[in-house]
Homo-oligomer: 338 residues x 2
């Protein structure tokens, strides 16, 4: 069995499997070169040749234990019919969806057709991937997708989406439920196309206080996990409620995720406690991968020492940033492989 | 004894004392009116007449249990000799301090003289405050001050300050130690001028992983608490490591703070666990105070039900935002007083 899949099933690996969030991307010269001659970001997500090639680049260069599909969490709102554009230096721009009356704009029946090129890329990556590397599919979790859809893009304060969620929780739950169904369909289609594990990115889980966190993060995650387990009992789901802080242990205990991805703010004693419940993945600060040197080595060794006794996947606490020198990634791989 | 001070000393109050972070400020028409005819923000911080009047405004209007001095955490870097300006809509702008060689720019010997108008405002507020209300002084914690000083203002990613802290922890500790001394001096001077409690705002504590959190948040806080306890054993210090998440309990257990302020992300079960160690303060989401209505009432009642059995001060999880209707504050006071 591939090392990553074994670890996700709870089997401690003598050498922890290693992959890195955003491992396919702008920090790699071979990615930047391919982007020069290609179209805009969203078109690339829907171009199987491009998505396949850039998904494989970091696996070839560093010998990582997993490929994660090159795509974006916002293909799901786009596939549901929302307008979406990525503007250079500005991030994503969506036609915002601000109230219950606009829910009719979403077209769940067309989602899988629209995202067919994504699943085609999954099939091609699976075909071309080195035998020992596993293929990870992914999706944004409903709350995180809702933040982009309601705010119309990235946000600092999340005022509009929280306003709706707090003021009219009943209709907001309807939005969350539509996104829950879409997420199940999108992850299911990636698994059918060959993904051996999936990660659910709740990148903005950390902006919610306890009560809405339970309603809009934990509950939809629980439903997504249950639906996928019923259809694909062998395929593990990694939950990533980034920034959940003191709510991390509850997320692990109540959602049923096979494994949990930890951000860099989770202390190692808390990580060890969660590791008694399920495999853990994480959690080097991505800035340390930019800096490299003794600071990176020491922090990576501390994480390894704390977590390698149980089922563990080495990763960052958040995605690689574009300024990361590829040589630092190579050094990290060497260090983890020991 | 004033209700707030009694609660901070660990005595449960039948009616929990109540104050609100940023209770003096832009959401109040009487504040906006006074600002129209006055100078820029920093000048106002150094004008005892103005600072006194706006500090008292919310106490008069709502009958709150405490006044918190109208000032800013950045008066300490300014008092140490750094240039500082507040530009409308842009936030603070400082001439950044980027490396150990620039530490000589700081002039600790002149701090208390430069900040004399702040202490004069404390004396005037103390003189004019209603007898039952307590006066709270405050300071920014060293890590949070360092973020503004190194980044040259507000930040989203904290790259520069983390870069220095991670790459050269030795010289960064020197900066933190200078700020620790300055913070002790600034809080001490406020206490001598009449502050009955102080709050230490570590607004950006949450951006640090465990190891630097221990070095740059916990350790300086422990030293500040110890130094002030030695000089002013009767004056409680409220620690506010905003966003500390899973590191909150360690902060409570190891810094010696008299009480802890909780942000809105701390779940109530974790708040109850910390309340067995020390009085807790918090933690309504400020956005709920903007929305008001049933959502606010329900969330406030849930907090009260969970925490009023122990020593507790009702507050928000972060500062009041300018869009807050004053009528919602009045309603919250009514609800807490029950």
């Amino acid at each position: 069995m591939k090392s990553l899949v074994a670890a996700l099933r709870g089997e401690r690996q003598a050498v922890p499997p290693l992959w890195l969030m955003r491992q396919a991307g702008r920090y790699l010269p071979e990615y930047r070169k391919l982007r020069e001659t290609a179209g805009d970001f969203l078109t690339l997500c829907y171009t199987p040749d491009f998505a396949t090639e850039v998904t494989l680049q970091p696996v070839r260069r560093f010998g990582l234990d997993a490929a994660i599909l090159f795509s974006d969490i916002l293909v799901v709102p786009h596939g549901l019919g929302m307008s979406l554009a990525f503007r250079e230096g500005e991030g994503p721009v969506l036609e915002p969806l601000r109230s219950a009356s606009e829910l009719a704009r979403l077209e769940p029946a067309r989602l899988l057709d629209r995202l067919a090129p994504v699943y085609e890329a999954v099939r091609r990556v699976k075909r071309d991937l080195p035998a020992e590397a596993a293929l990870i599919g992914f999706a944004g979790a409903p709350w995180t997708l809702a933040t982009y859809m309601v705010e119309g893009g990235s946000s600092r304060e999340f005022r509009r989406v929280k306003d709706w969620a707090y003021r009219e929780p009943g209709s907001f739950v309807t939005l969350i439920e539509r996104l829950t169904e879409a997420t199940i369909a999108h992850l299911g289609a990636q698994i059918e196309a060959g993904a051996e594990a999936v990660q659910l990115f709740d990148s903005w889980a950390g902006v919610l206080p306890e009560a809405p966190f339970r309603a809009f993060v934990i509950e939809p995650t629980r439903r997504i996990v249950a639906a996928l387990k019923a259809r694909f009992p062998e395929v593990p789901l990694i939950g990533f409620p980034r920034g959940a802080g003191l709510l991390y242990p509850d997320y692990v205990a109540t959602t049923g995720v096979a494994a949990v991805a930890l951000d860099q703010h989770v202390p190692l004693s808390a990580a060890q406690a969660m590791q008694r419940q399920c495999p853990v993945q994480g959690n080097l600060d991505p800035l340390l991968l930019v800096l490299g040197g003794a600071a990176m080595d020491e922090a990576a060794r501390t994480i390894l020492a704390a977590l390698r006794q149980g089922p563990f996947i080495f990763n960052l606490g958040h995605g690689i940033v574009p300024e990361t020198p590829p040589a630092h990634v190579a050094r990290l791989v060497e260090l983890v492989r020991g």
